[in-house]
Symmetry: C3
Subunit: 127 residues, 3 copies
């Protein structure tokens, strides 16, 4: 896996939540060579006031509907692939769920292949 | 500390939650030299549909009761120790809480000793 | 951004939550050169029993009101700056919210500049 944490303001419908997860995952498949079955996501709703994003940092106009996406993944993607990933996530969420691109925040945390167990107590990716 | 985030489907009893935390912690004490008092865990329940794990990636048959365990810890454990940790977590959760080993997902995030403060505003592990 | 996850016991007032976030952010501005507008925080309340911190590890007497603060940020801060950050967080939370310094746990996770998108699908910090 990558492990994807998505944090959103409460109030979205189950359909919107499913579409958010789909859009983020499809972007990963499209741009950084994640297998289509390799989907592991934790989506968490938060009350207003508990999810805080500055409304203008770097000149980007963010709303209350900001979406945080933190992706833990294996190290080694190139800068070009990371840029393509950010663009694809924003594009998919705009097209599928109507999310403003300004409201899409992404952070990557890189780890090693041996840092995963996908089940059964085994380090499936370790060489 | 390691800092351990455990994400589960809602509906488990307080007894099960306590046993889950115990089983993960005991595995860390048994296999990667974590002191028995060095326990810091954040356990979060999620509604159905908000915790997404592919039901067959890598040929592992996962259920809706998948458990995500993300452990931030000091860098430097060997691959052998990491493998022992994954096995011990799956074994303990099966024995103590009846969790299917296929449903136990683990991810490690390594940091430096200076990246921790255990209280009082001091970096206790920094040399 | 740094991305700051703050996990607390449920029951705090909105005013306390706002003050907690303010105190942590101000500490980052004061000590590790975070721009004042660069504020991105996810604060999550947890029921009793779901937030577990050993009450005496390293000789620090922790209560049930422990606060976990996990900060993902760009790599490169010196040990001196990190120490100043830990001290400032504990100091601010004591002064502003009455948090016991023993109850303030901090963990840093360092990433690269290219690991962020602050909106619009662009890697604003990548060179």
């Amino acid at each position: 896996m990558p492990l994807v944490r998505i944090d959103v303001l409460e109030g979205r419908t189950p359909e919107q939540i499913a579409a958010l997860g789909d859009g983020v995952h499809r972007a990963m498949v499209e741009t950084i060579d994640v297998p289509s079955l390799d989907r592991f996501q934790i989506i968490t709703p938060h009350a207003s006031g508990w999810l805080i994003a500055d409304p203008e940092y770097l000149g980007i106009s963010r709303s209350k509907d900001v979406i945080f996406i933190q992706i833990t993944l294996n190290a080694g993607r190139t800068l070009e692939k990371k840029k393509a990933l950010y663009a694809a996530i924003a594009r998919n969420l705009a097209a599928d769920v109507g999310v403003r691109p300004e409201d899409v925040l992404v952070n990557l945390v890189e780890v090693a292949k041996e840092d995963w167990s996908f089940g059964n107590g085994i380090a499936q990716y370790a060489t």
